[in-house]
Symmetry: D3
Subunit: 249 residues, 6 copies
């Protein structure tokens, strides 16, 4: 039975609760999920600088806790730190964005992303581009007013988000809607049947894909660009990160 | 418990047996898998014309049998007929290529495809391009001699395929190896531990991803380009296909 | 004097009549044209699934009749079956889309496609992408109401189509207008002088380019990805298709 | 009966003779062809700077002579000046590269270019890129020694060019060979039957496509980016060019 | 102390004055700048044909005068003749577009271009594409009415240009504004503090980058595609251009 | 006189010394440069995980020290943390990669990167891709043996690096060579005259471009994706980073 670690690189406990709830709802019978919240950083990541901080926080949590788990999930859209962690962790690692996009690509040709703010769109666009999937992106739309409470955005803004999704389909040509960001975890589930196209979210996709990777046991890279970094001098690092860098597999 | 239909658009029963064996090995407990073989077509599809035939054969089988299943898999690399079936079937549909590429994208940045013939490479390249993933493709390599027995290619050519995969990593920069084509179903499993990077195949990926799609219940498109085709006059079609076209959802 | 076979993969005789009329108007003196209508399929192809059926119908007609002709034209926009037929037929083959795009590319840098429905746009977009010409596509616009009579769309909707074309120029930056789909065959001719940029259609382009290919005699591939498929076992195929697969050139 | 003007932007009369001979062989019955040689410039264009000069020379010849013709062809690979002439001339204009690529795209998916020098490859690559066709380019190969006589390169280097073409097919994955540059005019014809894939050249393609454009009468842009330039002050220009700029259509 | 030659390929002395003023304002202490105006051509270049003429005029001026300078700047947006001059001149050469885009790329991820006319947009788009930077282009917006006086466009249209720039940021997602075209030289400076994102113009960028290239002394290509063209016969060329072609370095 | 802060995200003092020496050699008269070394991290960054750590170390140093400077340079190839810092710092920020690529793009069409290890190539490729410049990349070549002393790689491996650069030109079609990575700072200078094409390095390019940005004063984004992040709750951050996030501009 796989044990999955979900790391919330945001510092919001309310978002971690949303992640945990949706992870438990979407996990297969027998899968164990645990959610950890970043000990430092910002309440919710919208920008490249905030993602830089979140990546380092995620790396620390992953370094400290990964050994008890079969797979690790970076539980913020934008996947801060994901590629780096894939080099150093011995188990599969995925993130909300790449997992949601993988699901979306299995459901249609072009997808749109519905997000919680205008500002976040640039960072999401760059994430889609670094996934090599820009040609399948129909649009990214975001809420255009400040959020009163990040943990309640679904309740407060549910109808707006639904209308944005419909415009993605009717005006932008989306075949699939990606409801993006950990604060929207579970929204795809609660909107089920109200959207004109398939919809996915990051948490449920990541949980299911992590289970799949744990089950298929595809192997860890020992050569190539995702092999562990060459051993070399380092200094001043948290002990868990230092151990990861010194590990020889 | 999800019931999955795998359609082999090739006419080779020996390949269907490979597909069935790997599908059963990779399915979650409780998942039921059934494999059907194309009633007409060629022994194994390597070219665009053969894929055109396979697509129509797959469409007929899907039309006739889909109602008993929770998801359908087009079980040939190149995914003949997949996009069309996604429009007309009420359940999720996937194919070996898009499923294997989705897995590969969760394991590294660039993937190579190892295939059973030189000729098949052009068709595979076009399939990757139509998935929008050409920027993540490191290379496609294929065996360069005619196959004595398509059902035994793994036994006959296993070591050669392994060496090709190593060259994909060392010379082409692959982070992940995709072992392509239904005749290689199960090879990723039997090579486990012998490759320097993660490897995936189409059948196990497709089975797992189909389970995920069945579990997440993302919904069927009622608008957009994957909604069922508009009702219109038709003639001369097999009854099951005619029924699909006339269905109103 | 070249003899050209135009295959209408739709089942509409009224569309075949439009195709025949425009083919005869645009052919060089001495060229013979013949139009055949698909014996099975749908009235007009707008979706990927309908194109899958049309491709198989076109393949059967081509297999049965190609021997009397110097070139074959798949006479539906979207070119169902074209790439496959290019592998197996000994003569040049082209299709309405690739022929119209070739003409458009000789007349300006960016082109727009004007089409008969909203739904058809996704399929056309994918056709342009598989031609590798997405960077020259300014836009695809389509009529937004159901067609009363596919054979009379030019009469019924001529002014609307003209206005759509003008918006392609003024809002989307098109240098050339492609009037797309066999039901619009001849419209470029009848709008002559009323559009602010050059316009082309598929039938006249395909007829002229097929004449050119027949005249230049560029040769049939005996190696590479458009050589005939390797001989291999097959079963259950219509005799004419089986003969094509068994032919050794 | 169309009258075609071919402008050789090189100053080599021997190359003009090759162009004339192939143009006459490939033209339809009744078509008249005339070839003019640049009054200034270099013997054969291989670089961007030489193309800049050739473009201006071609512009002067076109401005002086176009009125007697139904279409104009810039008869050097690389198409120096083509896009500019398309803005100002009232008749269709094409060039050897875009015409040969249009033919190649009707014969296969990926093409290679065989050229007369190594140096010329960068300029050709940029020409293919500005045609938006880089994704269909398999390779560009060029002779690697200085040419003794540009007018006799076919005789002197025919076998080498043939072997280069074969490597394009076998190593680079080309479906079609483009024999590039006016000095190779006619080579596709004389190699007929000796190449494993279809081959095209620029002169015969351009002549045939120019006939097609003259016959289809697609119209001249009056709006958009190929409309004639806005009237504005100018000075110091050759009278024929000044007349083109002052013309109001 | 570097001496910079700025060549205005337009014939407008008023634009040359704008260029000179901004070049002097932006040059480092000690840098000498000289501006030459095209002896033939059009008042301001907006189209491909006008750029073709401007390229030849720029080439003549560069050939005649470059020897006294450490770097040469083609001082029109669109960089007419730049790539060719880079082959033949012994010193660094840059142009307003590539220099402004280089600055823009150091200030943000996506840039918009604000231009003086609608018509000019197509040529600018193609310039950005030939720089390989289309993926970083957010939009190109242009004034939509004829200019009364090209030398006074900043005074006459300053507020409109400012509003266009704001729409580039708010609607198109621009991180940086490029104020394009020599007639806008100095506008970035005078709008300083009024735009919501960094802004750059071509003249100041080109002057500074030319100083950098002169200082870094990166070397002149002796091999590859920017080496001087191979020596070969030529005829009818202005003496200075002939000398450039005959020079052996 | 501009004051420039160069942040070495590696922990190697010997590399900082190389950076300082080249920065001083390449700076304009009067420019002040200061180099700071990461207080934690690895000796030299080759992988995504190491870059993640370096980004956070660079962010801390920048947050603490930026106020005394007119521009900040992230002095490692791969530019760890650059995009994030551009959001939060009030002054211009650049990095070795983007600066070197900007220089390279002003010197030719296609560039190759010569690097200090094989492993580092994947990270560099992704950096070039995120700069949107993949279409101008000819190749990335790297030394293929472990480095004895990162601070002496130029002495130990100079001739090998030179031969790699020549292969980039002759085999890969490079017009410009980028000597990549802080450990190669100054190599372009010492190889001057020995390479067949222009060569640039990151430190000298970054210093000069930072001077340019400081001089042009293009403005700081107050809207768009490089505006400072929205103010929001955070916790556990180093005081200097917290101040950056709380700053209101």
């Amino acid at each position: 039975m796989p044990r999955l670690l979900l790391i919330n690189p945001n510092t919001s406990d309310s978002v971690s609760a949303l992640i945990r709830a949706e992870a438990e709802r979407s996990a297969s019978p027998g899968t164990e999920v645990e959610v950890l919240t970043a000990p430092f950083g910002v309440a919710y990541i919208e920008t490249r600088f905030e993602a830089l901080i979140g990546a380092y926080a995620a790396a620390q949590l992953a370094a400290e806790h990964h050994e008890r788990f079969d797979a690790v999930i970076v539980a913020a859209f934008g996947d801060p730190g994901l590629a780096g962690l894939r080099e150093v962790l011995p188990c599969p690692v995925t993130g909300l964005t790449e997992a949601a996009l993988a699901s979306a690509c299995l459901l249609g040709q072009r997808f749109s992303i519905v997000a919680i703010s205008q500002r976040i769109r640039a960072w999401y666009l760059e994430t889609v581009q670094s996934c090599g999937l820009a040609s399948r992106l129909a649009s990214i739309r975001g809420l255009d007013e400040p959020l009163a409470d990040i943990g309640k955005v679904q309740d407060d803004q549910g109808e707006r988000l639904l209308r944005m999704a419909e415009r993605c389909v009717d005006e932008d040509g989306a075949d699939v809607i990606v409801l993006a960001g950990a604060p929207l975890a579970g929204l795809a589930r609660s909107l089920r049947g109200r959207l004109p196209v398939p919809s996915v979210d990051g948490v449920s996709s990541a949980v299911r894909h992590a289970e799949t990777l744990a089950a298929l046991r595809p192997g860890k890279a020992t050569r190539g660009s995702f092999a562990p970094p060459p051993v070399k001098p380092h200094r001043g690092l948290p002990p868990a990160i230092a151990r990861l860098l010194d590990a020889r597999r």
